[in-house]
């Protein structure tokens, strides 16, 4: 379960990268994103992906690096499936990510540190 | 793959049949030539540059070999792309032949083969 935190951070990052694109933001929220919203989304994306990398490598060095690449691949796949095929479910998906992230942060806080 | 892939920038030779053959298949011959220099030329370039690297890096023998060998494919890939990057096929051939020769010369000097 501790592995869930770096993975959910990765998922959040790719989700934000996707939302920062005009067409995907429009699909979910039915309006164009403002420059500021895009900036916020991109910053969240970059911070969470780097945090994810840091957590992975801190845990298991080289093996962690490999795991990070694996998480990136899986996250990219999941985000890609939602935004290409299940566009109507993306709002729910976004909510789910936040819930998983909150849970895994809690787990991490209670056990990992 | 347009203008500068013509191999035939010299005066018409006596054997007109060969000339006609090369004219007709000019594009295909140019393609083959480019692949040849990329694959074979790239291989020799990599071989000689990686050997040169292994004698030049200031690490132990084992490390030198392992380091050169790990970098070899990167060099090969770059030379391969280079062969398709330049417009002029002539330049590609000349630059690769010259650089291989120069590196081999340098390597022979360093290893005392000359």
């Amino acid at each position: 379960m501790i592995a869930l935190l770096p993975f959910s951070l990765c998922l959040l990052a790719f989700n934000c990268f996707a939302l920062a694109k005009f067409n995907h933001f429009k699909d979910v929220f039915n309006k164009r994103p403002t420059q500021q919203q895009r900036l916020v989304l991109l910053s969240i994306a970059w911070i969470s992906i780097l945090l994810s990398l840091l957590l992975c490598v801190n845990e298991l060095q080289g093996y962690g690096g490999l795991q990070f690449c694996g998480y990136m691949t899986l996250s990219a796949l999941i985000v890609m499936i939602f935004y290409s095929f299940l566009v109507r479910l993306t709002k729910l998906f976004n909510l789910l990510i936040l819930v998983i992230l909150a849970m895994s942060t809690l787990f991490f806080g209670l056990n990992g540190l | 793959m347009q203008a500068s892939n013509r191999l035939l920038d010299f005066p018409k030779p006596a054997f007109s049949m060969l000339w006609q053959f090369m004219q007709r298949f000019n594009y295909e011959l140019a393609v083959l030539s480019r692949f040849f220099v990329a694959i074979v030329g790239g291989y020799f370039f990599t071989a000689v540059s990686v050997s040169l690297l292994s004698v030049m890096v200031p690490v132990s023998k084992v490390d030198a070999v392992l380091l050169s060998v790990s970098a070899s494919i990167l060099i090969y890939a770059l030379v391969f792309i280079y062969s398709f990057y330049l417009q002029s096929l002539k330049t590609v051939w000349i630059s690769i032949l010259l650089s291989v020769a120069a590196q081999f010369l340098l390597l022979s000097l360093m290893k005392g083969w000359l």
Binding site: A3, F17, A18, K21, H24, L60, G62, Y63, L66, Q67, C69, G70, Y71, M72, T73, L74, A76, L77, V79, M80, Y83, S84, F85 | M1, Q2, I39, T46, A47, V48, V50, S51, L53, S54, V55, V59, S60, K61, V62, D63, A64, V65, L66, L67, S68, V69, S70, S72, I73, L74, Y76, A77, F80, I81, F84, Y85, Q87, L107, K111
Partner: protein
């Protein structure tokens, strides 16, 4: 310059891709299966299906080694080589083996192996002769039926072309992050292009890594030159330097009794208290030149060469060992190798590796199909397809539908061939290649949508029959695997059912497409014109 570079990269990407895509599909297909070669070997060998998971695998190793040495000393005290292979996470049985004297003309001595259930320490039921997962592992770089060295050169160059295709693909997919999640359904070759792009991009780090590191695993064959330049005795000199060896001990003459293995093991555990020993190899036992090599698992470190300690068999003292700390270059080389073989990957990472491999197969398959579709779209109306188009379409059908069918045939052969058949392993492999050949023959006769539909249906039936035949011919089945928590076997059977379903979906999709295209009187009129 930029426009022209872009176009030359597009041209290059298509050509290097096209020259080797079918071979690359084979390599990726077999390679992806190889990530689970231990599980495949397990499925292929019914006598080891019911071995229970050891409760204390590492703790039992000392005992197993001691009894192994005793056993081998009784069975073959003068064999040239003893090998004790301990159970691992994914390989549940224990092997005690000794080398039989080499026949004239043999390159390597064959082994007499006794396989033991580590829980009861009793010999297992005799193994059937099968290559198991190792067939797919070897297939992806040694190919088959051709000389190994030639095969490896071919695979190396194909992989180089793959690397070039990846690099040129990145260059031409300039909108790599802009268009990342675009998919346009039902638009002919454009849809295939989108799937091609998606499958390439989402697993791009994996593709680049696996291709580059793949060539690195064979690098000393294609570039022995650095070793030859730096070492006087060339590549041999290099190999002697890079692996720990014990030339002094090995040159001693005469006989000497083997030290009690306990003295050796105590030294191992002093150095590495938590050691997970994988193998113990004893060369020239009961001679003065005897060496005892103890290999431990590198665990989750990025090392491909197992850390090992080499002891003199006569005196029990340590004579050689792998480095504790790796230099930068050694670490680089070992990391590259270990990243490709992925031996360090445990369950989650291994599944991710498998996912990457599948993405690679999809990338290559969609590339092949897209090229055939493009050629067809460019074809002028009412002309016959060129031989080039026929070749591409034939190879597509033969490879993309043939390989899965051949794989099912391999596993069916494993279950259906009699246990005592001569050269059984070769016959299973023959079943694989014969099936593939049959699909190729069909593909070269006719390769329309109908043939694709039929092949998809056949594939579906074959996939469903694998777990079925398994249930009939062994005493386990997918439900019993679930009940007894035999996860590897359960996943294997489930995967075949899932893939069978996918083929069924494909059959349905193609069938409806065929029905839609059925000629009506108006259509045939147009075609006649």
């Amino acid at each position: 310059m930029k426009g022209s570079f872009f176009r030359s990269m597009t041209w290059l990407h298509t050509w290097v891709g096209l020259l080797v895509c079918w071979l690359l599909y084979l390599i990726f297909f077999a390679g992806t299966i190889s990530f689970f070669r231990d599980e495949v070997s397990l499925w292929n060998q019914p006598s080891i299906h019911n071995i229970e998971q050891q409760t204390d695998r590492i703790g039992a190793q000392k005992r197993q080694i001691i009894s192994g040495v005793d056993y081998l000393n009784t069975q073959a005290p003068n064999a040239p080589n003893w090998r004790i292979t301990l159970p691992e996470e994914r390989v549940p049985y224990l092997t005690y083996g000794y080398a039989k004297p080499k026949e004239p003309g043999q390159r390597r001595a064959s082994f007499e192996n006794t396989r033991i259930d580590p829980n009861t320490m009793q010999p297992l039921a005799p193994f059937v002769d099968t290559r198991g997962g190792n067939f797919f592992y070897r297939l992806h770089f040694d190919l088959h039926y051709i000389d190994v060295k030639t095969a490896r050169w071919i695979v190396c160059f194909a992989s180089l072309f793959m690397l070039i295709a990846l690099i040129s693909g990145i260059v031409i997919h300039k909108r790599i992050f802009k268009d990342m999640f675009v998919f346009r359904a039902n638009k002919g070759s454009r849809s295939w292009l989108d799937v091609h792009n998606l499958s390439s991009v989402f697993a791009l780090p994996f593709h680049l890594m696996i291709t580059y590191t793949g060539i690195i695993t064979l690098i000393f064959m294609i570039f022995p030159y650095p070793a030859q330049t730096v070492y006087e005795n060339g590549i041999r000199g290099f190999f002697n330097d890079v692996s720990p060896s014990s030339p002094v001990t090995e040159s001693l003459q005469g006989t000497a009794p083997l030290v009690p293995i306990n003295t050796v093991l105590d030294q191992v555990y002093t150095k590495w208290p938590e050691a997970d020993i994988t193998r113990v190899i004893i060369n020239n036992p009961n001679k003065a030149a005897a060496t005892i090599m103890v290999l431990v698992s590198p665990g989750k470190t990025l090392r491909d060469q197992s850390p090992r300690l080499i002891f003199s068999g006569a005196s029990g003292e340590l004579v050689a060992q792998t480095d504790d700390e790796l230099t930068g270059s050694k670490a680089l080389y070992e990391s590259l190798n270990s990243m490709h073989t992925g031996r360090l990957a445990e369950s989650l990472l291994r599944v991710l590796y498998f996912l990457g491999g599948i993405a690679g197969c999809i990338m290559i398959a969609t590339g092949c199909i897209m090229w055939a579709k493009r050629l067809r779209e460019r074809m002028k109306k009412n002309t016959q397809p060129s031989w080039g188009l026929k070749l591409v379409e034939g190879l597509n059908l033969g490879t993309l539908m043939g390989l899965p069918l051949a794989t099912s045939a391999f596993f069916l052969a494993n279950r259906l061939l009699g246990k005592q058949v001569d050269e059984r392993a070769d016959k299973e492999i023959l079943a694989f290649f014969l099936t593939w050949l049959c699909v190729f023959i069909i593909a070269f006769v006719k390769r329309d949508k109908l043939q694709w539909c039929v092949m998809a249906a056949i594939n579906s039936i074959a996939c469903f029959s694998v777990p079925l035949v398994n249930a009939i011919t062994t005493d386990g089945n997918i439900f019993s695997y679930l009940r007894n928590e035999q996860w590897a076997l359960f996943m294997f059977d489930s995967l075949f059912l899932a893939i069978g379903l996918l083929f069924l979906l494909q059959t349905e999709k193609l069938r409806t497409a065929l029905q839609a295209k059925k000629p009506t009187p108006i259509n045939t009129q147009e075609q006649k014109v």
